[in-house]
């Protein structure tokens, strides 16, 4: 039992969906101040092919180094599966598709599919990300290359 009423739970789901929407938009528009503000200080990121990033500040440093100005990304998330451990702790799993282009040449470097496994906490009245792990089901590298 989460100690939430039905309406409280539905409203919290909407807030978490909005948090997720902002994260995808902040990433794809490279709005790093917004991106950082959506994550708790102790947020942990785990992406296949990268070390675990143990804080939001480390995450931002790495995400900027990987993407800022040199990559154009598309992150589309679908069909949220959001459940509550308590009134201030939740988990979410989202279907996802992403495209990563080289910004200069426009080449499609990666077309991927998978699931985001995330946790959220309500801190000072606001839901924030506390962890994110991307588990990929398929990565197509340079799928349009002709060489």
């Amino acid at each position: 039992m989460t100690g939430m009423t039905d309406i409280e739970q539905l409203l919290a789901i909407e807030e978490i969906k909005l948090l997720k929407a902002r994260r995808d938009r902040a990433c794809d528009t490279q709005d790093w101040a917004l991106y950082r503000a959506l994550h708790a200080d102790h947020h942990i990121s785990h992406n296949q092919g990268h070390e675990r990033w143990e804080s939001a500040d480390v995450m931002i440093e790495n995400v900027k180094a990987l993407l800022d100005k040199v990559r154009t990304t598309v992150h589309h998330s679908h069909t949220p599966d959001i459940t509550f451990e308590s009134a201030i702790k939740a988990k979410g799993i989202w279907g996802m598709e992403d495209l990563i282009f080289d910004t200069d040449s426009g080449e499609l470097l990666l077309h991927g599919f998978g699931f985001y496994h995330e946790t959220y906490e309500k801190i000072d009245g606001k839901w924030l990300f506390t962890s994110r792990q991307l588990k990929r089901t398929l990565v197509r590298e340079r799928p349009e290359a002709r060489d």
Binding site: L10, L11, L18, A21, R25, V74, H78
Partner: protein, 156 residues
């Protein structure tokens, strides 16, 4: 959700659902070319701003242009992950991630255009119904088949 929110509880949830349904209908009306439905989703004073086609300052002007510009295109509009917020119980704003594709024939050849971006929209509750009052589409990435002219010229 604080008591200062202009809409709270079940009323807020229902309004979000109604706006999401409005959006779903707009994307479907566009891709199925159901222009009667499309127009009915917009307030008469709706303003559209679209990088491909410029600015239209009424729903009537939008309809004239949308019909013409879409006539020879097969389109796909997929909208994702809404950010709906309320300025009052009858005024709302939304941002949606989007992918758009268009397919058409140009000099007997198949061509395509693909874009990724965000819709920035406003909605009003007029009477009992939520309607679009503005829409701006901002792409952050687009690409097209070699030699494609997009948008194809609108012929009078």
């Amino acid at each position: 959700m604080s008591d200062l929110e202009p809409l709270s509880g079940a009323a807020r949830l229902l309004a979000i659902e109604e706006i999401c349904r409005l959006k779903a209908r707009r994307d479907r009306a566009c891709d199925t070319k159901d222009w009667v439905l499309y127009e009915a989703l917009h307030a008469p004073d709706h303003v559209s701003e679209n990088g491909d086609y410029g600015r239209w300052t009424s729903a009537a002007e939008m309809m004239v242009n949308v019909r013409k510009s879409m006539e020879n295109l097969v389109t796909l509009h997929h909208s994702h992950t809404p950010e709906i917020e309320f300025d009052s119980p009858i005024h709302a704003r939304g941002i949606w991630a989007m992918e758009g594709m268009s397919f058409w024939q140009q000099d007997g050849q198949n061509h395509w255009f693909q874009a990724f971006g965000h819709y920035f929209e406003t909605y009003d509750k007029r009477g009992y119904r939520w309607l679009f009052t503005s829409r701006a589409l901002k792409y952050y990435h687009s690409r097209r088949s070699p030699g494609a002219i997009f948008p194809p010229k609108i012929t009078a």
